[in-house]
């Protein structure tokens, strides 16, 4: 187990180093992703010019949702972004090369192509979280929960992508856009789930459990919900969802057909 982690770390390390060679690429990635986050923030700013609260949430509070979502997205992009290539690899039969190595194909694939624009999302996300939480006077141990929520969010989002990518094994074809579904839904959780109709609200807590790492913890931080479960449910759900993703991947591999020669 330890040895395997060492392999994944070495793979990630070498891939990241290789990516960092391209300095312009890095700068542009940073700029683009920060701009995307900022434009979303501008929309929020305009929104709060019209109204002082959104289903009982003020601007600083919504900013925490924005920040957690951006950082979870950034974490997933940094560590697991290679998953986006999978539908393409399946169609081209390019998964063969991963399957000749003596390692678990899923984690090996995930870590072998880090995305540099993730740093933009991580950075803007961090600023938003800090700005939002400084309005409160939280004890330090509450701050310590933030990385846990972010990491859980990164894993939950990754797992959702893996599950959708695994479908491509069986249904090979023009379906690579299916990965946009978990992506778009993640962006939707930047707003308090109360603004959505109940089926969307609960869909984003149970089916695509993004709300577990941003909405529930924010509710707890701002004293809207009291149960401490809101604060610690995220890592549990992350582990569960990751296991589900691995199962989906294994199911998919059995249906992998590769291509001629």
């Amino acid at each position: 187990m330890f040895n395997e982690l060492k392999i994944y770390w070495a793979t990630f390390n070498a891939s990241l180093q290789a990516k960092l060679e391209y300095k312009l690429d890095f700068a542009l990635g940073l700029l683009t992703s920060s701009m995307l986050q900022l434009s979303a923030f501008c929309f929020l700013w305009v929104l709060f010019h019209q109204t002082s609260n959104l289903e009982g949430w003020n601007q600083a509070q919504v900013l925490l949702l924005f920040g957690l979502t951006a950082m979870a997205l950034g974490t997933s992009e940094l560590l697991f972004n290679h998953i986006w290539m999978v539908p393409y690899y399946i169609v081209m039969g390019d998964l063969d090369r991963l399957l000749v190595y003596p390692v678990r194909s899923l984690p090996f694939l995930l870590v072998s192509r880090p995305e540099l624009h993730s740093f933009g999302n991580l950075l803007t996300g961090l600023v938003m979280i800090v700005v939002s939480l400084s309005t409160l006077h939280m004890p330090w141990w509450d701050w310590a929960l933030v990385p846990l929520w972010v990491a859980s969010g990164g894993v939950i989002y990754m797992a959702a992508l893996v599950i959708f990518a695994s479908l491509a094994f069986k249904f090979v074809g023009p379906y690579s856009y299916t990965l946009m579904i978990p992506h778009t839904l993640l962006q939707a959780t930047r707003y308090p789930l109360g603004v959505y109709p109940p089926w969307v609200h609960f869909g984003l807590l149970l089916l695509f459990p993004y709300g577990i790492f941003n909405y529930l913890p924010a509710n707890w931080v701002f004293g809207k919900m009291d149960s401490p479960l809101c604060a610690v449910a995220a890592p549990l759900v992350a582990v569960l969802f990751a296991a589900l993703a691995q199962a989906a991947w294994n199911w998919g591999l059995k249906h992998y057909q590769s291509t001629g020669s």
């Binding site: 990516k19 063969d96 090369r97 399957l99 003596p102 059995k254 057909q257 001629g260």
Partner: protein
């Protein structure tokens, strides 16, 4: 001899989507697809002993790659049994991968973005390669395949020939017990082909590797292998030594003589009668050229003697059908039947 791999009644069939023509057809296909079943491999059985060097040939679509992918655990067979180094490939893919090396000539294996040298280091960690084995193979590969100038280049910047040499080195770094090479010389120029074959032969001998090569270039096989498997439409058509293959399919040998003067009809007839008694047959006697065909091994000296006796010969050559011609002939007769 202990078996490195055993295949018993192995088969694989695919579901292939049937496409309807045109854009309208494509749109219809989105809603209701029809599938057809393609049998790529049908009841294949063979075994390979440790240290054997085996070439697998067959036309495009004969099932070579599919077989290789089942042996390496990449795809799951539809039926039959297979075992490689005591493992069932698709069930115990990772354990098996530690002890085999795989190269797909058509597909790059190394990670795209990472420089070659980093990849080698990564592989060393991944396979837990002992330092002495690593140094031995790595040193040999650098030297024999001329990798030194490529070490700092990311894989995607390499040319096909360069990439192939790196892939080959990478797949052998851990001195695997069994090596599968799928078209290892495809698209390479003649000198690189020679380089690659030489390296394969040496490393094979050094570590006693079991080798299975699929290829369309039969020189890959005649230069590195002892045994030949011929696949045809997913079935085994021949399994035996290269020599046995030649004897079975290329029994026709020829003596080609060039004469000083044009051969006269009467002389040709006399020769025809004489060689007929020694198991030969004149199949051509025109101008300065006489061709005698025979089948029995060892008939040549007597026939040459007769030709030299009866004609004034300036040059004489023995011709044997080369393996490439034989294989082409087999493929063609097969297509004619189909």
């Amino acid at each position: 001899m202990e078996n490195a791999l055993t295949v018993e009644n192995l088969s694989k069939s695919y579901q292939r989507r049937l496409r309807q023509p045109g854009l309208l057809g494509a749109v219809k296909g989105l809603f209701a697809s029809r599938f057809e079943e393609v049998q790529a491999v049908k009841g294949l059985s063979f075994s390979i002993g440790r240290g054997e060097k085996v070439g697998l040939i067959g036309e495009n679509g004969a099932g070579k790659s599919t077989t290789l992918k089942m042996l390496t655990g990449i795809i799951v067979p539809t039926g039959g049994k297979l075992e490689v180094l005591g493992h069932i490939p698709w069930k115990e893919r990772r354990q098996l991968a530690l002890n085999i090396g795989v190269v797909f000539g058509q597909r790059p294996q190394l990670l795209w973005d990472i420089p070659v040298e980093e990849t080698f280091k990564l592989l060393k960690t991944m396979y837990r390669i002992p330092e002495d084995v690593y140094q031995a193979v790595y040193g040999e590969a650098l030297h024999r395949l001329g990798l030194e100038p490529l070490l700092n280049t990311p894989v995607r910047h390499l040319s096909l020939g360069q990439r192939m040499r790196c892939d080959l080195a990478a797949s052998l770094l851990h001195a695997p017990a069994v090596v599968f090479l799928d078209e290892p010389t495809i698209g390479l120029d003649l000198s690189v082909k020679e380089q690659v074959r030489g390296f394969i032969t040496d490393i094979q001998a050094k570590f006693g590797i079991t080798l299975l090569i699929t290829t369309h270039d039969l020189k890959d096989i005649t230069e590195t292998c002892d045994r030949l498997l011929l696949l045809d439409k997913g079935k085994l058509l021949f399994d035996g030594s290269i020599r046995a293959f030649e004897q079975k399919y290329a029994s026709d040998r020829r003596i080609v003589a060039e004469t000083h003067k044009p051969v006269e009809a009467s002389a040709a007839q006399a020769l025809s009668q004489a060689v007929g008694k020694s198991g030969g047959k004149v199949i051509e006697a025109e101008g300065h050229r006489v061709v005698v065909e025979y089948h029995e091994e060892g008939a040549a000296p007597a026939l040459i003697h007769l030709i030299l006796q009866q004609l004034q010969v300036v040059d004489i050559n023995l011709e044997k059908t080369d393996i490439e011609t034989i294989v082409t002939r087999i493929y063609r007769s097969d297509t004619a039947k189909a």
